[in-house]
Every structure is written in C-alpha cells, then in structure tokens.
Symmetry: C2
Subunit: 431 residues, 2 copies
C-alpha cells in the first residue's frame, strides 16, 4: 500500500514557473514513486481510497535537494582559510587533509558527520569526490547506504602534480576501483553507486585518463571531474594535452566527456567548441556559485547555459564553497547571474523558479527520475515548517522564497528519499 | 563593583590582525566600560581582586556587531521579490509597505520582531531608517530603549518622487522631528538617539534638504542617507541638483556631508572629488555587500576605501539585502572584494581580520568608543558557543572563521551592550 501526503505543494515542472497546489495531495506508490499530484483527493484519480492521508497542515512540501559537486574529505576545511590564495590553500589545507583519509577511523568519523550534515540541509542525493583511498571510499558508500540517501561516490584518480601520498599508480587505481564496483554490485542498492572520478587533467597522466575512460565504458559508470574553472588551469591543460582543441576535448579523447553520463564542475570559462560538445553530449554542468565567489576564478555564465539548453545543476563544492545548503546555492546562483546582468542587461538574471528548477528537476535528472512530483518520479521530498518565518500574510511563493533566502535546517521537518522518510544519520559517539 | 569575564577573547585593535587571548580575561567597570584585557588575572593590573570571575569556559568572546544601514519598515519584505527589477520592487513592495506604518499597531508588531531579530544575530547597535511617520518612529525608539540595545533612529524626510501617502511637507517634517528630539532628550538614554535622515536627494526638495541640514546643525545630530548606489540615480541627481559638482556635493551644500557625523550607504560609484570630500570630512561609508549582489547596481570598491583611509562599516540594508546577520555581511564583503580582485589583482581581497575590524571597531566608532575591548571601550560583546561547529582540532582563529562562515544565531549564547547582558526583546503575544 502506498501513501498520500497533504500539504502546500510547490515544485517546478518547467523552469519558467512553479506548480503551486495549496492544500494539495501527492500519492506515492510502494516503490517510492509518485503516482499523482492534485489539488484535491478526488482528482488524484488513483486507487488510494483505503490509504491513510498524512496531513502536514500548513507546511510546504517541495522536492529534496541534489548536490552535484562536493568533496567529502574537505568537510573539516569547510569555512576556514577562505582568505588564502589557491596554491597555499591546496598545499596547506586540501592535500594534507586528504592524506589523512588513509586512516579509516578518521575517515569514518568525518564522513559520518558529513553525511549527517547533508541530511540536515535536505540534500538527499549527492555526487561526491572522496579521496584516492579505496577503503575510506568503501566506507563512505556504506555510510550513504545506511543513511537511506542516494549518492554517486568517487574514488579519486590522481597520479601527477600532487604530494606523493596522494599519488596512486594506474594499476592500483584500477584494482581499487574494480573492487568498489564489485562491492556496489553485490551489496549496495542502486541509489548508491561508484562514479569514475579523475580529479582533473592536471592530476592525471594520459595512462590514468585512459584507464578511467575504459572503466567507465566497461562498467557503464558515470563520470565526474572539474572543467575550465580558472584561466591558469586552462593554460596548463593546453600545455599538458597539446593535441586537444580545448579542455573538454582533452577529456573527450579518453571517453570522459559524455560518452556516458558526465558531470563537469565549474565550467566558468566554457564557451565555443567546448560548450557545443557539452550540449551535443548532454554533459551536465555542476554550477558552484559560492565557490565562484570564494575562489575568485570567475563566474560561470549560467544564463547562457540555460539559453543554450545545457544540462545544469548546483554544487556546494565544499570546501571551495563554504555552505552545504543547496538552498543557499540557489541564492548565490541568482547573485552570480546578477553579476553578469549588471555587465550586460541582455543576460537577464535567474528567476527564483529557474534557480529552483536547476537545483531540483534539472540536477535530479542525473540520478534518474528525481527532482519533481510528476507521476513516475521518485518521491524525494522535504516538509518545511516555516511558521517562524511566516509572521505576516505571505503567499505560498513568498513563503518559499523567504525560506530559501532566510531559512536553514531548522525549518526542514521531514525528509524523504525514494518514498522513505530519512531519519538523522548516526554519527560516532563522542563526536 | 565591576565584572570580570574569562573566555577565549578575540578582537581587532588594528585591521591587520586579530588580538587573540586564549583563556583571557576582560574587566568591565560599573559604567559598562572595559577596564582592561589580559592573558591572566594578575596582568589585568586593576583592582578586581574582590570581583567574581564569570568563566565562559571554552567559548569565544568577541565584540558585538554594528549594523550601519537597515530599513526597519522593510522587515516584512526581507527575502521576497528578490528577482524583481528596482522600479517594480519600489512601487509594489517598498512604498506600499512603508505606507502601512501610519498604523502604530502594525508598526509595533513589526518593529518588535525586527528588534528581536537584530538581537538574535548579535547586532547591539544599529543605524536605522524608519518611515516618515513620527508616532511609529517614536515607538521604534522606545522599543530600542526597552531592549537595552543602542540605535540611531531616523524619521525619514521625503517630499518628492514618491507616493502621496509617503510625502510629508517640510514644516510637518520639522515639527515631527523636533518632537522626537525633545522626547529623546527628556526620556531616552544616550544610546538611543534620533538621526537626521533625508531618504536621498531624489526624494527631497531643496527646501527639505535645507531643513534637514539646519536640524542637524541646530541639535548636533548625526546624518544618514544613500549615496551613489546606481548610475541612473547618479544621473538623476545631476539633473536635480545642477549646481552640484557631484552627488556628495549635493548633500554638502545643505550641510549634510560630514559637517556633523554622517553615514552614507552604498557609495558603489564613489570616486574622485566625492571620495576626497568623504575622506576630508570623515563621512562614513555603510558598505552593504549583500545588497550590492541582490540589487545588481554595482559593487563598492571596499579595498580602495580602506587604502584611502575612508571610514567604513557594514550594513544589512534590509530588504535590498536579505540577511540581518552582520557575520554574513563579512562573508559577502570579502566576496565583493574578491570580485574586484578577480578583475584586478592589484586590489587584494579583504582578509578576515579586515572584514571583522570593519564590522566592529571601525563601524562601532560611529556610536562612540564601541567595537573593541581596549580600555575605555563600552563593553558590547557576544559569547559564542561553537561546540557544534568545533568537531576537530581547530585553532581559535579557525573557530572564529568557521563561526563567521557557517554559524548563525544558534551559537550566540550571551549578548552584552554597554556592559549589561541583553535578554531576548519582547515581541507581541500571538506573533
């Protein structure tokens, strides 16, 4: 027997507008998929007469959040060293921290808190970079499995331009990755999968990139990496992959650019041929607006991506970004688009419905039918009790906007992934 | 008898660095002024042997926040209509809302919540725009008085280019303003004062501006207004005040530009003569970085202001800004400076200590000796319990940075203004 939920339902079937059902109903089947959504019970037009209705009263019911780019092992560094330049930041914070993940006890302590905090902010699906360490990455997959949340978890491939302790040979990488794939196939549900994760071109030799492409093709696993964040990085890639016509093409030559579903983080300077190739191949942009502001490498042309019909979602990019909340990412994405607008009024800034659609239905499409309440979608949802923000006669859309701009985890009362209510993930005692 | 507090003490005597006292002590006299601050009791070198020490343990003790630019009657509009253009936003949201403040019952309900929320985020002093309405403005002064917090409260002068219901004649304005001044002199403590508040040049006829300047001089009251936020606005001022050499000069001709202490909000496009005049006269910039991002009129050159030695503080600018937290303003101020840095690496972005100094000691100077723990400063302070953010071996500076980037009102455990602990301000029952 399925379930029926009653609340003020808001979601974005199309980016141009919100669907708003005041005191609406959504029916969910036993597999956790939406059967129907309607303004009243009769119109649901499905057999749910015997189903008990869970009434959330005056609360808002919205799709859950998806984070398309986040570095789990940089969780400790969230919100520190934000006024360092890129190089000292990598050398003194990022790499030393990732090295610690050879210790699975440390990894477990940190990863459990990380997953708990994703949960707090209503993120039910994430594309995650782990580290090179197979055992810690295995642990992270299991922590996600235990939580009930969905994740694509990336053991990171890297074997050049990094500290020795973070270099892994190609054979060792392939062996580790295959053991994780076997593990996922034998003992994890489909919502938790490995994702092939070359850190980025400067960190991977051609042999490593080739191995990544081969694994992705052989096991039909998605791919994630970084693309065109920074002009120095782009120049370096041109140097390292001389035959490539652009940064994206450098991935493409190894089968890592949309031959199978691919996410590329940042794409701040993506244009011309690279943009065309992404469009053609359906490569998804993980737009990380907070990180754009913090790292100061430039701001992704998010309006242009939408106009061109590129697939796009939002990423927190911890710890280049400092905030795990994808709601906060919507605010920052609108602000990024306003910076472009200010320079050129022919690039209108994002509307709220566009930002919401990017974070939910558009991003969710990377995980299957996720991010909307249309029939057939997996029921990933949040129940928002905004009574503390709702002190005057606000419309439902104003209430949602206020929650996005002013709210935080305190207003998120219930979280669902694939139709199941997700309770607070366990962290280690004493932490 | 004074008080002594023990905690991890962090503040900025100079913008270049934090003063950090692990398990330090601060002594406060019976008038609420700092007597001394030291690493141990003996070094305090003052007569406080009989004084009981309040031990805050592992918590952080920092100066309280100051908000130099906030529109109290736009509290209801916080976080809504953020994707409207400026004109429809003013016409459909800002002005209709301000009109409601002719109703003192509505004003009391909203103003009490507004002051409570300033308190929540640790803002103990604010420069506030009210509306044209004398009685609501009087109420707001009394709500601040009752709270124990400090405020400069501005009855707004405006008599052109606005809805009729928000136009007040010059005589009526002067009469209302003088009645508030008399009230403050007779029945309010010095920490709650009126501030002369012409909305901005486009809203005030020459006669109104002259009246404002005369009141400020006669009663020696500070002045606040808006300056050079937007290029269209600057062009309009040039049109309206043809004899003026710049926007700042238009205020100056009426005695409203530093003849007595003056705050100008925004100053996004301030340069050349205007900047020189501000420097000469000590006119303070209320930098509103969140508002810069949301309103998309441009980003104030905050690094240049510091280099030139301009006085500067931070403002939330509700509801152009969406966030009341001055900690969040520090993050946004750093991000604004990074946008400038990205375009020109000779304008280094703000360090954390600079942002903190701007928000505390620099901004606080508008209220007297406020914003530092040096001897003679009024003890405006916050006690931060960051245990929920402090899950690893972080330094005290890292803990402060994490609180600024990740924290919110939940970590603020105690608030002091002028040495007195400030408890949660009362809101109206049923709200």
């Amino acid at each position: 027997m399925g379930k029926v939920y009653k609340a003020h339902i808001l979601y974005t079937k199309e980016k141009e507008r919100f669907e708003v059902l005041e005191n609406g109903y959504v029916a969910v089947d036993t597999n956790g998929r939406v059967l129907g959504v309607a303004a009243d019970l009769a119109s649901l037009n499905i057999q749910c007469k015997d189903t008990e209705v869970t009434d959330f009263g005056d609360r808002l019911l919205i799709p859950a959040m998806n984070d398309l780019h986040v570095h789990a092992p940089q969780y400790r560094n969230q919100g520190i060293a934000m006024d360092l330049e890129l190089l000292p930041w990598l050398l003194n914070y990022t790499f030393p921290e990732e090295i610690k993940y050879s210790d699975t006890a440390y990894a477990e302590r940190m990863y459990r808190r990380f997953v708990r905090d994703l949960w707090r902010f209503g993120t039910m699906r994430a594309c995650v970079f782990a580290t090179i360490h197979t055992e810690s990455t295995r642990l992270l997959m299991h922590i996600f499995q235990e939580s009930g949340m969905g994740a694509l978890v990336g053991k990171v491939a890297m074997n050049r331009n990094c500290p020795e302790a973070l270099c892994e040979g190609v054979d060792a990488y392939v062996e580790g990755q295959e053991s994780l794939i076997a593990e996922a196939n034998s003992s994890l549900p489909p919502r938790v999968r490995p994702i092939i994760t070359p850190r980025f071109i400067p960190s991977c030799t051609p042999a490593m990139l080739r191995a990544c492409g081969e694994l992705a093709a052989k096991y039909q696993l998605p791919v994630q990496s970084h693309l065109s964040e920074n002009r120095d990085e782009i120049a370096l890639v041109r140097e390292l992959e001389k035959d490539s016509t652009c940064y994206g093409d450098a991935y493409d030559r190894y089968g890592l650019f949309g031959q199978i579903p691919t996410i590329m983080a940042h794409c701040v300077w993506t244009e011309g041929e690279e943009l065309e190739l992404m469009k053609q191949r359906g490569v998804m942009v993980a737009h990380c607006p907070t990180s754009n502001f913090n790292v100061a490498s430039g701001m992704a042309p998010i309006r242009q991506f939408l106009n061109e019909g590129l697939r796009v979602g939002l990423g927190s990019d911890i710890s280049g970004g400092h905030d795990l909340s994808i709601f906060r990412m919507m605010v920052y994405a609108i602000q990024v688009s306003k910076m472009h607008y200010q320079q050129n009024h022919e690039r209108p800034f994002l509307t709220l419905s566009e930002a919401f659609w990017i974070a939910t239905k558009s991003a969710g499409s990377f995980f299957g039918r996720v991010g909307s309440f249309e029939p057939g979608y997996e029921f990933d949802a949040l129940v928002i009790d905004d009574s503390d923000l709702n002190h005057d006669n606000y419309s439902l859309l104003e209430r949602l906007e206020r929650f996005i701009y002013l709210g935080d985890d305190r207003q998120i009362e219930h979280r669902f992934c694939q139709g199941r209510e997700i309770t607070e993930p366990r962290v280690l005692v004493g932490n």
